[in-house]
């Protein structure tokens, strides 16, 4: 598998991450950042997106934190980034083929636009798309309510098949994000913060095991579960649909470059949008204190396929890869709910069987009244769980002055119901319908406990 990994060895892959903060969005004749404001050439961007033969029309809209705006139905959220590593693109494998094994990821610099995101909406493809409220009670549940959004409201041509529809909308988001990053970040950058992230040393290189006699730091690995169940339930690694892939190790900072992207709308509350992958807080936290408070020994990605055989195979292989990193403990994050609970428990029990400690991140589906059991599967070794909240809990969202997209679909969304519209125009809806509200990478502060 690693016949050509030029960067494996004693020198860990290192990335310098520069962040340019955007405090406002607007339109102009040339796409650029000026005094902290991102200006977008509407004509150029829409022409680029309309070059996709499936796309009939693209409307652009801007939403700001605190606005009385509801964005619905949201498919993906993406942070524009530019790779400053020659030959290594952003979204590797998405616009052109990329083999992570034959090329590897070189050290270098990445630049991101912080404070703004590209958000894709448009006619509903599946039931499990969600909404973002820019103010009001719903805004407390999602980090996206604090971002400036450039919303792409995309309509596809009539008769476009569902899988093609999903793909066109997904790629439009990446194209727009890439276009914005190239147009505004390519050049000399004067402002912004800079952070250096040093990856674990490749475990295949054994010359690094230095024993300096001090107390050994705990060795921590990360098992990153990716949803892979079909239309609107897929995730891509270097352009490859992960349901067709076996579990594998990745260089943790690959995620910064968009090596993992979302094609995934299940379900709004606990799917990982592309933004979530780009900013995976487990990877970032583990890297930031790597070599100080612990040794981050590596990250393994695995899938959540639908058949029992696939689940058994993937969990066995994932556990073996984790064992090969020789960790004391592993953080396991899940994506989606229900069916993936079985993958989570298999991963947990197979890793614990090797004497390696696990902590699992999961949300809960305990019913609207909170009285039901929260997961559909269990294992006695799953004794250390971090809960990211009961997604069935109902909140009431008041009407917003402006809707970007189409809020008529609200009753059809997972978490909505035919009775969710209240007479005063509010909706009583499960947290499930709010993008990222119970995210299982641990972005949010919400949790659940017994009362």
């Amino acid at each position: 598998m690693s016949y050509a990994r030029p960067h494996a060895g004693a020198h860990p892959v290192t990335h310098h991450w520069r962040k340019i903060t955007v405090t406002d969005l607007g339109y102009s004749s040339a796409t650029r950042v000026e005094n902290g404001k991102l200006l977008i050439d509407k004509g150029e961007l829409t022409a680029l997106l309309r070059s996709d033969p499936n796309i009939k029309d693209v409307q652009l809209a801007i939403a700001r934190p605190g606005d009385s705006v509801r964005i619905i139905p949201v498919k993906d959220v993406i942070e524009p980034r530019l790779s400053r590593i020659p030959g290594y693109p952003i979204f590797p494998g998405v616009f052109s083929a990329w083999d992570p094994d034959s090329h590897g990821i070189p050290s270098g610099e990445i630049v991101s636009l912080c404070g703004m995101v590209v958000t894709t909406v448009g006619s509903i493809v599946g039931y499990q798309e969600g909404l973002i409220d820019m103010s009001g009670p719903g805004a407390r549940y999602s980090l996206f309510s604090g971002k400036h959004h450039l919303v792409l409201d995309i309509s596809v041509k009539e008769g476009t098949e569902r899988h093609e529809h999903e793909k066109s909308v997904r790629l439009a988001g990446f194209k727009a994000s890439d276009y914005i990053a190239r147009s505004s970040l390519d050049g000399s950058l004067s402002s912004g913060s800079r952070e250096t992230l040093i990856n674990p040393i490749d475990p295949e290189y054994h010359g690094s095991e230095i024993s300096d006699g001090r107390k050994r730091r705990p060795r921590i690995a990360y098992l990153y579960m990716l949803q892979s169940q079909g239309l609107l339930h897929d995730t891509y690694y270097c352009g490859v649909d992960v349901k067709k892939m076996l579990p594998r190790r990745i260089v943790p900072t690959e995620v910064l470059f968009g090596a993992i992207v979302s094609g995934n709308c299940v379900s709004a509350c606990d799917k990982n949008t592309t933004y979530h992958h780009q900013n995976n807080p487990i990877i970032l936290d583990l890297l930031r204190r790597h070599g100080v408070d612990w040794d981050f020994v590596g990250c393994v990605i695995t899938n959540e396929n639908v058949t029992l055989g696939d689940k058994q195979r993937s969990s066995t292989l994932a556990a073996e890869l984790i064992v090969s990193l020789n960790p004391d403990g592993v953080i396991v994050s899940k994506e989606g709910f229900g069916n993936p609970d079985a993958d989570l428990m298999m991963n947990c029990s197979k890793i614990e069987a090797h004497g390696i400690k696990t902590v699992l991140l999961t949300d809960e589906f305990a019913g609207q009244d909170g009285a039901s059991q929260s997961l559909v599967d269990s294992h006695p070794n799953a004794d250390a769980i971090v809960s990211t909240g009961n997604a069935n809990e109902v909140i009431v969202l008041p009407p917003m002055e402006k809707v970007i997209g189409d809020d008529r679909v609200i009753t059809e969304l997972a978490g909505g119901s035919s009775k969710c519209r209240l007479p005063d125009g509010s909706v009583a809806i499960e947290l499930q319908a709010l993008i990222g509200s119970t995210n299982q990478l641990g972005f949010e502060n919400i949790s659940s406990r017994f009362k």
Binding site: Y127, G338, T362, S372, Q373, S387, S418, S447, F450
Partner: protein, 356 residues
Amino acid sequence: MSDASRNGKYRIVHYVNQFFGGVGGEEKADCEPFTIQGPQGPGRLLEKLFRQGNVDVEIVATVVCGDSYFVDHQEDVLRELIPLIRGYHPDLVVAGPAFNAGRYGIACGGICSSLQPLGIPAITAMFKENPGVDQYRKTALIVETANNVTGMEEAVRKMVRLGIKRLHGEEIEFPQAEGCFEQGIRKNYSHTEPACERAIAMLLRKINGDPFETEYPIPFFDRVDPRPAIADLKGITIALVTSGGIVPTGNPDHIESSSASKYGKYSLEGLETLDARTHQSAHGGYDNTYANADPNRVLPIDEMRVLEKEMGFKRHPWYYATVGNGTSVDNAQKFAKEIAVELIRDGVQAVILTST
């Protein structure tokens, strides 16, 4: 406004059993309910401790009932006592403490649970093994006590602490923090740290062998052993039940795409197969493109008709469908119980369950 507000005192109604009501012991357990004006037995201690907490209260009435009488006539007693208690316009109702007295605990729990929906704050107290705890922990605030009357003062102190909060109109969001039994109901809250940081901190503790507390204790799972196979299907009636969301086109019962609150019962009379014009999937948890194109893929009516002829079983003319996506186990169990009763009533001997 209640009388309490007029003389500045909070009005309390206290419920006790025949023993604490001064009637007698077990030999008087079938004593019928009656009311005493003012405090009685532990009521005096209650008043005293409330006043020590600078909250002026008055036990306006003590309601007494024999333990056996209560459990033997539960519905009748509640029908009599609830309006009676309400008639005193109490600001708070205190029942017990019941310690480990089982029938007394059930009475205290039953009274508190019935008052809560009426907007009358009510609290009780009992020992953890009192059967009243399991029966009423979800619907009543139950303070944990010792197992017998030697724990009276401590129990009443805890009840008073909780009672003061209820009198001041405080919502008790997390009863455990107030010395009560957990209600076993999951409730969201905002933690001070994001989940990723909590996960790493928990893992470090687990690695170091330090104590840690899981945020979700894994519950006991109700696993059902499969029944033995039926050797001969000749002449038996087989029904189809699915959680795959196959419903008549238009989803007439509006079964939710996730978190289903209901199921549907639909006729198969005269149907040899399902097709895309008559049936669809209402399920939001899988790619339903292929189920919509051919609903037999999830509810295999076409194959059933072939097998009927081959194996000689009888069709059940109805099928049941729900959406098994984020649907709570409580709801699923409720659907299953109702469906099973109907299937048995209708003479069905075997069921094929399809899911997705």
